[in-house]
Symmetry: D3
Subunit: 143 residues, 6 copies
């Protein structure tokens, strides 16, 4: 199996807040990430596809095509947007890096696998909130 | 002359919008940077102090002390905040990287020079909005 | 399973030397890493926690809390110290990156898992000695 | 198990072209990567060895020795060369990142495992074509 | 004066060779950079514009517009090309980083200054051949 | 004028301590940088040469030759060494980044200028102690 990765990025505002909980719970749990007027990040997203390279092209997936899918599914709806208020598919989701990366994986899975070499899988999505904080979702057991 | 640099960072939301201009002017000039519900960045700030090292310490400025000044003057008021609405000293300023870096320089100049070796100057402040977009302000003529 | 990572750093001196072996063996095996008067590194440590995000917070673990644990368990005892002589829990351990990362994992496991969402595990610790040399310890079988 | 990594680099020219296919197929599949007069990259290669540290040295593998093997097996034949025309062991292989990383793994496996601590394995090779495009080969099942 | 920078990149093949000199002179002077079948790099280009921010926009130059100019003037003609054979404006120029950066500056000067705030100047162009080798051209005296 | 830069690195131990001052002064001024048993860093050094490219080679200086000079003058005496005790030319110098970069400049100036194109100058040396702390020495007035 070969694992190919495409790294892409977008800039967005967000705020961590659970609307079902009182304000003091939110302030205690999320600290400065709960400030009411938003803050933001330069997000970096890495999308990893596992498969056998196609014999004729030598590609697991054309990374240009993979970038187009990431652009359409993730970057266009999220870039320069507010992740709490502007993105349909994030409605009702607290935008922690954990929740975002899982949601992004689910949206990318079908279109990525349809464009990759036969038998390929969307293996993992990794999302950097900052250079020092990141999360990844991988549905294949590692523990 | 030795030039010493301390690099620091903060995360903030902002939006580019000139309130004295109509909405269509703002949309045309700023494009997606004008989206109404904010977006954000992981800002990186580099503060450069020029001077002769103190003979006893070998320091132009103690970089721990410089970090404390940057923390107090820039990071605490801006980190996890909205640069358009939450920061007193940015009131009335369109938060382009150009305007931010100039404002940060002006605020840092006096406290930095008071903590540096005698005869030192705040030479330059550089602000990265993203890894690929940055601005610097230096009052000393280079052209 | 979501895997969240916090990256942190410290600066330390060390020397590779097996005191049970003669000096010429040490010089031959470790080369310049055996120089008697120490050398040092800017170490970067990545701590990876695997779990399901808590339904109320959306966190596998609060990365601020994770940073506090790393600070107390690793950074405070090791930062600006000599790894051969100053750190109690490294006594008797040759400070190769391999040995350090394993020791750090063992010390971090219990406090990290107590602070993470129920059912979480300390999945992996990665330690960079330089940008080009690093080691990771993961107790879950990958081979 | 500890996993140790050594990162190294080389600069090379290449072109994606399947000589068994007509020119218009190649242009359609590979786009600008098919331009006839070559283009090139600063490749970065990471070689990951898994094993138990040797009790006497604390090393899974001496990273200096690992670098020597990478130099001999990969860097010397590929650096400042044309991957389509100058490298014997790449003859007949379309130099996609996928195909390169698999070929590099196969060449490195035996000499790396002979130089590592007893029972060690070449776990994975990762190859960056650019900072945003990379591939890895790992023969151990992860899916 | 504010200095704003936009960083961009392209991948290209090249070879260092002075056709007016014999082959052995070229091999001696350029070493492996003279290998006949080309090698290549991931070039990174930084374009620095100096000026006073426009009072209405807060921009020295719209970095999106600056990117469009860099795309048209540098990236489109050079990306995935051979710098010795495919680029009209590099004809007769030995593609050292020094010569490339000077040529890029000269081509960018007029279109960049026409798109920037009144009174702005193209201050400097910096070109990275690798992360460890780079050159910059600045016509304003610094020595 | 073209400015060419070569970046290189070394790993070393050091401690900040002024032997002419009492221990409590040293502890107060240098804090954890004064810990008695040393700490260390991955230093990165950038050497910048200014000049006109030679008409025949297109080089201000052959960066391979520049690397050899840096290796001989800086890397070999300092790499994997203790900067307080092991390096002749640092005797009596408190190894702050400021003092180190000035001393490195002075040692590099003559051999670099003798190997560069006629009329070239060693313009600047930049030394990174960490990714966030660095100093540069440039003898040409900028203030």
């Amino acid at each position: 199996m070969i694992y190919v990765t495409r790294k892409s990025h977008f800039n967005a505002a967000h705020r961590l807040h659970n609307p079902e909980k009182p304000d003091d719970w939110n302030r205690k749990i999320y600290g400065k990430c709960n400030y009411p007027n938003w803050h933001g990040h330069n997000y970096e997203i890495e999308v990893v596809v596992a498969g056998e390279p196609d014999a004729k092209t030598g590609y697991v997936i054309d990374l240009g095509k993979l970038q187009s899918i990431i652009d359409e599914i993730i970057i266009e709806p999220c870039d320069h947007k507010n992740l709490n208020t502007d993105v349909d598919f994030l409605e009702g989701i607290i935008p922690t890096t954990e929740n975002l990366v899982r949601t992004f994986y689910d949206r990318l899975k079908e279109p990525v696998e349809q464009s990759a070499a036969s038998g390929s899988s969307l293996f993992l999505v990794r999302l950097y909130e900052t250079e020092r904080n990141f999360a990844e979702y991988c549905p294949y057991p590692r523990i």
